[in-house]
């Protein structure tokens, strides 16, 4: 089996359902989605208007799913989708959309354009029009244990480092504990400090946790690639491990699409509900805070702002939690314009960050966020997504911006009050 046009078109047909049909029939071409789009606003190029990015899917819907379209198709009034069309649309669907969800939020008739891009990618990838980097990541992840290749040695080493640093034991594959933590490859490779941070916070809160040696990877390239078959396989690994270990919950790490994959798409992909809860790390920290199991000491006098990851805030619903945590120890917390659900994307989500040819466009798109950051002039930018962190690191370097970028879990651990060894501790 290889990627063919027919397989791609068939995948698109499979994706067209009642919501898609109602979205296409109810679009009034008002253009509000254009104004909401990172890439359109940064370039003012009409080809980046969100609803236009799913035009090929609309054409298939119109030609094959509507009576009038079928008749029009017979007279050649609606053109067939060709392989050339898919080639032409490849950069629009993969390079100029981070699936940030802003267009969906502003659509006056409630069309979920983001979901349609996700569906459109199903057809593109099945037809062989996915970016090579994403295909490579999918191969590495399905063959091994991470999109970066084999990270099993790396995770063992990072855990050992964290144990040495904190003096707290972290056990692999321990059944019956409260939570199973999964991590983003980006964290394992680039920001491993989060392991020590989690160890200290959870120890203080009296919460038990483990890491599965065969399912520690949280990212799911199937979501970015747009392949349910790949995504299902990767979600299944985590579900199998969690159910084997009999944990109460799985902690989704600071990673946007990992949360999207496991929390929201996962049950639909595997076709059933989980036997455990999925909780985002920041959600969990805020829960511990509310229960009095997470206390901080000291104050951060730096000017701090927060960057909302699209998949966790706008598309994930976690908005107030990080702010409540930041307010525990920040003396000078400032919000950028549009902070919260209308936040501008960092430009690296949805697989765009991994896509090399998209780099110039990605840098151009960062302009929207940059204007807002420049306005509040923070010392530190805090976020809760390792990939936002990674992307901001890169663009800050590109634009000579001096600010420090920190993951929220690490920052909370920095101010964790764990001197008083008695309260909340089990052992």
């Amino acid at each position: 089996m290889t990627a063919t046009l027919e397989r791609g078109l068939n995948a698109l047909r499979e994706q067209i359902d009642a919501p898609v049909a109602s979205f296409f029939s109810s679009c009034v071409s008002c253009g509000l989605c254009a104004e909401a789009c990172l890439f359109y606003r940064a370039t003012e190029d009409p080809k980046y208007i969100p609803i236009r990015k799913v035009e090929l899917m609309r054409r298939i819907w119109s030609r094959e799913f509507t009576l009038l379209g079928r008749i029009a198709g017979m007279f050649g009034l609606v053109k067939n989708v060709t392989d050339q069309d898919l080639s032409d649309w490849e950069t629009l669907v993969y390079d100029s959309c981070t699936m940030c969800g802003r267009c969906t939020l502003v659509c006056p008739v409630g069309n979920d354009i983001t979901m349609m891009i996700r569906k459109m990618r199903e057809g593109m990838s099945a037809a062989g029009h996915a970016p090579v980097e994403l295909i490579g990541a999918a191969q590495r992840h399905t063959d091994g244990n991470s999109p970066m290749g084999d990270l099993s040695k790396a995770i063992q080493a990072q855990v050992k480092n964290a144990i040495n640093e904190t003096g707290i034991e972290i056990e692999f594959d321990k059944p019956g504990v409260d939570y199973m933590a999964i991590l983003s490859a980006q964290e394992i490779a680039e920001f491993p400090d989060v392991l020590a941070a989690m160890a200290r916070i959870f120890k203080k809160a009296g919460l038990t946790w483990t890491i599965a040696s065969d399912a520690f990877e949280a990212t799911n390239v199937g979501i970015q690639l747009g392949s349910r078959d790949v995504a299902r396989k990767l979600v299944q690994r985590v579900v199998d491990a969690a159910e084997r270990l009999g944990v109460k919950g799985v902690i989704s790490p600071e990673c946007g699409h990992a949360y999207q994959a496991l929390r929201w798409e996962g049950p639909n992909l595997i076709g059933r509900a989980y036997n455990f809860e999925v909780i985002h790390i920041v959600e969990l920290l805020d829960k511990l805070r509310a229960e009095g199991r997470l206390k901080t000491k000291g104050k951060n006098s730096q000017r701090v702002t927060f960057h909302d990851p699209c998949q966790i805030n706008r598309r994930g619903g976690i908005n107030k939690e990080p702010r409540r945590l930041l307010n525990m120890f920040s003396e000078d917390f400032v919000e950028t314009d549009d902070a919260g659900t209308f936040n501008w994307c960092c430009g690296g989500g949805g697989g765009v960050g991994a896509n090399e040819r998209a780099e110039p466009l990605r840098h151009q798109a960062f302009k929207m966020k940059k204007v807002q950051l420049d306005k509040v002039e923070p010392d530190v930018v805090v976020t809760m997504c390792a990939y936002c962190h990674h992307t901001l690191d890169n663009v800050f370097e590109e634009f000579d911006m001096e600010q420090e970028i920190v993951g929220l879990t690490e920052l909370v651990a920095e101010y964790l009050d764990d001197d008083d060894a008695g309260s909340g501790e089990k052992a």
């Binding site: 290889t2 799913f65 009576l67």
Partner: protein, 362 residues
């Protein structure tokens, strides 16, 4: 015909002064909004015209139109009868009855074949001719018979002009307008329930002096039906200011504000009510505090309710709506099945995507 008395001779016989006659012509011109220069032409035409024979046919009607026309103030029907026309058949007004009455009609038709004017009030039942007969002759036959030799037909009242109340849903008698039956004669529609008396007599006078007046797309003389009541209504300034009566006894009603929200059909109704008014120019429905029913418009009975504002959907929307819903549902089901089949076929054709076959072979 030499034995036909000319109007000016008749005037002499009846002691009508030249001055009175000119006044009559002037009032006629003003009612029809004609230029004063037309007065001498009307006078000349009327003076030199022989009295036209008029046959008035009453079908499915309530006699309201006849009641109204006998209350015309200028020109009065008496003026008309004595000065301008010869009303040879009108079964409500004539003294004769039975065979004598029908004989009068037949006689007038024979005498003035091709020249007489037929006035009709009431609709014509065509479902079963037996629903309405006169002297054993069905309305349909009598209309066809009489119209054959007519110079023109005037349909007075909304029943004759557009079917009126008889034609209203569910139309048990199959009532239709004159224009549905007679296709080869000029027809002037003078709708209203009843029409304003002066409008009826004015149209007759116009026909006698100047011929058939200019008509609008619904066959109505533009002189009387050119403007919407709303555009000539003395309450229009309140509409423009957004001041409305919301009930018949509220502050707005007492203040005399616009009746739009109480269902006034003035904006869509063309008639002379707001300018000519009724009862010798005393008043008209809106002035009396009641919204216009729209009685000069076709199917005004079925336009969704007299007290429903125009902005609320009206007309035959229920039946149309049901048909649309049923049609839409059928099309939706058909389209849905089509789409479902396409999707099911696609799902069947699904090849599981593996990370290693995401590249094209070539």
């Amino acid at each position: 015909m030499p034995n036909k008395p000319m109007l000016k001779d008749l005037m002499k016989t009846h002691g009508v002064s030249r001055r009175a006659f000119m006044k009559y012509c002037a009032s006629l011109a003003s009612v029809m909004a004609l230029s004063p220069a037309m007065v001498p032409r009307i006078a000349e035409a009327l003076e030199n015209a022989p009295r036209t024979s008029v046959i008035w046919l009453s079908f499915q009607e309530c006699t309201g139109c006849t009641e109204a026309i006998t209350r015309s103030h200028a020109p009065t029907i008496e003026d008309m009868i004595f000065n301008a026309i010869s009303l040879d058949y009108h079964h409500t007004l004539q003294a004769a009855s039975g065979h004598a009455a029908e004989e009068a009609r037949e006689h007038a038709m024979k005498e003035h074949w091709g020249e007489y004017l037929v006035v009709v009030d009431g609709s014509i039942p065509i479902k079963d001719p037996g629903y309405s007969t006169i002297a054993g002759i069905s309305n349909l036959d009598m209309l066809k018979d009489t119209a054959a030799g007519a110079a023109a037909i005037v349909s007075v009242g909304t029943c004759a002009a557009y079917g009126g109340v008889g034609h209203a849903d569910p139309n048990p008698t199959g009532a239709v307008a004159v224009s549905e039956i007679i296709k080869d004669k000029p027809i002037i529609n003078v709708p209203g329930c009843p029409p304003i008396p002066v409008v009826m007599t004015g149209v007759l006078a116009h026909f006698l002096s100047l011929g058939i007046p200019e008509l609008d797309e619904l066959g109505r003389p533009k002189a009387f039906f050119g403007n919407a009541i709303h555009d000539r209504c003395y309450r229009r300034p309140f509409y423009d200011k957004g001041l409305f009566a919301n009930g018949f006894d509220d502050e707005g009603a007492k203040e005399g504000w616009c009746l739009y929200k109480l269902g006034c059909k003035g904006p869509t109704t063309k008639a002379a009510c707001a300018t000519v008014k009724w009862n010798n120019g005393v008043s008209f429905p809106i002035e009396a505090g009641h919204p216009c029913l729209g009685c000069t418009e076709p199917d005004f009975w079925d336009n969704g309710g007299f007290y429903k504002p125009l902005s609320v959907p009206s007309g035959d929307y229920r039946r149309l709506g049901l048909a649309a819903v049923a049609g839409g549902a059928a099309a939706g089901v058909a389209g849905g099945l089509l789409a479902k089949a396409t999707k099911a076929k696609a799902a069947k054709a699904h090849e599981t995507v593996d990370a290693h076959d995401l590249e094209k072979s070539s």
